[in-house]
């Protein structure tokens, strides 16, 4: 089933990005309508979250539901934030995420470079092993790692959440490697002839070109770390080191169902999502390109 394509260079990769042309005006409008409908369906729950966050308790329970809040209750946000140590959770999550992203990008880039830009005997066989680990179910690590971290005294620290990202993971290596394979061999050879060693070539020649792929990995790693639920659930017990996911979860469980403030829960959820959406908009230019160019053939 392998499709043989002309080998892409960085230039042609950019040209590949152009989508297949839609020919007729009617087809174009059909596409527009369908796209609009799908997009609205996907954004509806998020809209509902924001709308609910701004409603009063009575309006939230009103029937039929109001599409747009009659009065904007911004105080839901401040009340929600004050009902828990939100800023502590927020700061903890930022630190854990930032460290994870930096380590993940660095380690996966170096490893992917070793699997693509360097030539060494056995390289592609070892890479088959990388592919194989892509499908190993993660739960097997749950109990052994917990036991190991407990023995190391890492419970209630961020180490179990951050340290694993220092050791490249199969999916990210795969993604960056596919991107780097398009890097022109001539340039690497030229660098070698000019006397640059592998490490120097990595930083001065390859790194500037690899930014779309690295931005993609950064976003995936940031989302993964920001959204991590099981990690903090297992390793963080004290409130002052807790991250947003478990912090808020604990809050929903302690609140009694009678007077539970759903609008406040939606307000907090919105605050949790917001930084990722901002991050996505900042890197969006690179993101879809890095995620799709040359990932598969």
């Amino acid at each position: 089933m392998a499709v043989t394509l002309p080998r892409p260079t960085l230039g042609s990769a950019r040209r590949d990005l152009r989508a297949r042309p839609v020919r007729t005006r009617r087809a174009r409008w059909t596409a527009r309508v369908v796209l609009l409908v799908i997009s609205l369906a996907f954004l509806a729950p998020l809209y509902w979250m924001v709308a609910s966050a701004l409603k009063s308790d009575t309006e939230l329970a009103a029937f039929p539901p109001t599409l747009w809040p009659h009065e904007l209750h911004w105080e839901n946000f401040s009340a929600a934030v004050q009902s828990m140590p939100f800023f502590t959770f927020f700061r903890n999550t930022v630190v854990v995420t930032a460290l994870s992203v930096v380590f993940a990008v660095a380690s996966n880039f170096v490893v992917a470079y070793g699997f693509s830009c360097l030539q060494w005997p056995g390289r592609d066989k070892v890479f088959y092993v990388v592919i194989a680990t892509l499908f190993i179910p993660f739960p097997i690590t749950l109990i052994p790692m917990f036991d190991l971290y407990a023995k190391l005294g890492w419970i209630n620290t961020w180490a179990p959440l951050v340290v694993p990202s220092m050791f490249a993971s199969a999916f990210y290596v795969f993604l960056i490697r596919q991107f780097l394979l398009q890097f022109p061999r001539d340039v690497l050879d030229a660098a070698a002839i000019d006397g640059a060693n592998a490490w120097r070539t990595l930083w001065t020649v390859v790194f500037p070109q690899a930014r779309p792929a690295l931005a993609t990995v950064a976003i995936f790693a940031a989302v993964g770390s920001w959204n991590d639920f099981m990690g903090p659930l297992l390793y963080l017990q004290d409130q002052d080191v807790q991250t947003l996911s478990i912090g808020i979860q604990a809050y929903t469980m302690t609140a009694s169902t009678e007077d539970f403030q759903y609008n406040q829960l939606m307000a907090v959820s919105f605050l949790v999502i917001l930084p990722l959406v901002v991050l996505f908009f900042l890197f969006q230019r690179y993101f879809i390109r890095g995620a799709t160019v040359g990932s598969f053939k």
Binding site: V3, T4, L5, L17, R18, A19, V22, L35, F42, L43, P45, L46, P65, S107, F115, L118, Q119, P121, D124, V126, Y128, V129, F135, I136, P137, I140, L142, I143, P144, M145, D147, A150, F167, A168, L181, Q182, P184, R185, D186, D189, F229, M230, I248, Q249, T252, M253, Y262, M266, S269, V272, I273, L276, V277, F280, Q284, I288, A291, T292, V293, F296
Partner: protein
């Protein structure tokens, strides 16, 4: 791996040809190859360390502990295969496997279909397509736990929008989250919002289809449906397989969805009435609520065996369908 134009005169051709040919010349590597080997290994060493610590060690550990009775406090007592025998007759194991399989059977095909539709939508040649791509991807950024909160409010029996719509159709008060059968479908619906990630992989596949094929098909008079069935689907079959396998793999490991949604609506995690007790939730319950680490390890090891079997299947299938692009590019 790279264009042959980069070859230098000092570089013998056999090195370029790859590993096999080097082997054929004898087991000993030339000093130059040995140096390259060590450089290469140095660069991939973080991954090697990672595999040993995060894959090899846990697998061995899990198997050893699965043969013991161990609470984490006492020293492990060797009990042989008792834990595996207990698992075979444990009714909750059966419940959790049933829940997980039901979820996988419903959610995986749904997700593939939704992701493919989203990918095709993302691939349209319109000036404003960037905005649609963003709109379709943003829900994938929403943390599962936050999505869980949103859906708890969405289908809340008193004021949830879904219930109010159902009420208009005369369905009365339905508590979708209170019923162990329907709550699973709420989780399936929830999972569809994260279609953006799989859609990106489909998008990569769609982009790799040579446009000339469509032009030729159009000349031959093939309509859009025919083009999709005869060109697009066969040519993106590798990415379908990839998404299928990763989809099954993550469906078998579903945890957070069940934990968050059930914690929001019932006292016991995995409720109501064990309706969201997915396999991983039961492993978690045994390990961290009942402190039966030996039993939990046995359960985790069984899941691992299923996962490895799936990987082997992927390997066999990939030889036929998937080109991981190891020799070209």
């Amino acid at each position: 791996m790279f264009p042959a134009t980069g070859r230098t005169t000092t570089d013998p051709p056999r090195l370029r040809a790859g590993v096999l040919e080097v082997r054929r010349t004898g087991p000993r590597l030339s000093p130059r190859d040995r140096r390259r080997l060590w450089t290469g290994l140095a660069f991939v060493s973080p991954w090697i360390v990672g595999v040993v610590v995060f894959v090899v060690y846990p697998v061995v550990y899990s198997f050893v502990v699965s043969l013991t009775r161990y609470s984490g406090m006492n020293s492990p007592d060797f009990v042989g295969f008792t834990n595996y025998v207990s698992a075979a007759v444990d009714p909750l194991v059966r419940t959790s496997i049933g829940n997980t399989l039901l979820y996988a059977v419903v959610a995986v095909p749904c997700s593939l279909l939704v992701a493919l539709v989203v990918a095709i939508a993302m691939n349209q040649d319109l000036r404003e397509v960037r905005w649609y791509r963003t709109a379709l991807y943003i829900p994938s950024l929403v943390p599962t736990f936050a999505l869980g909160f949103i859906f708890i409010v969405f289908v809340n029996p008193q004021f949830g929008v879904v219930n109010q719509v159902l009420r208009v159709f005369g369905a009365g008060d339905v508590n979708l989250l209170g019923d162990p059968r329907t709550i699973k479908f709420v989780i399936v619906a929830m999972a569809q919002l994260a279609a953006g990630n799989a859609a990106l992989i489909f998008l990569a596949g769609l982009r790799a289809v040579p446009p000339t094929l469509y032009e030729a098909a159009r000349v031959d008079g093939a309509g859009p449906v025919r083009q999709f069935l005869s060109i697009t689907l066969p040519l993106i079959s590798p990415v379908i397989l990839f998404n299928l396998i990763t989809g099954i793999s993550s469906a078998l490991q579903i945890f957070t969805e069940g934990y968050v949604v059930s914690a929001g609506v019932s006292d016991a995690v995995g409720g109501p009435d064990n309706g969201t007790l997915f396999y991983m939730l039961y492993v978690y319950r045994n390990a961290f609520s009942y402190a039966s680490l030996g039993y939990a390890s046995a359960l985790a090891f069984l899941l691992f065996v299923v996962g490895v079997t799936l990987s082997a299947l992927v390997y066999v299938l990939s030889k036929r369908f998937v080109n991981y692009d190891l020799d070209a590019g």
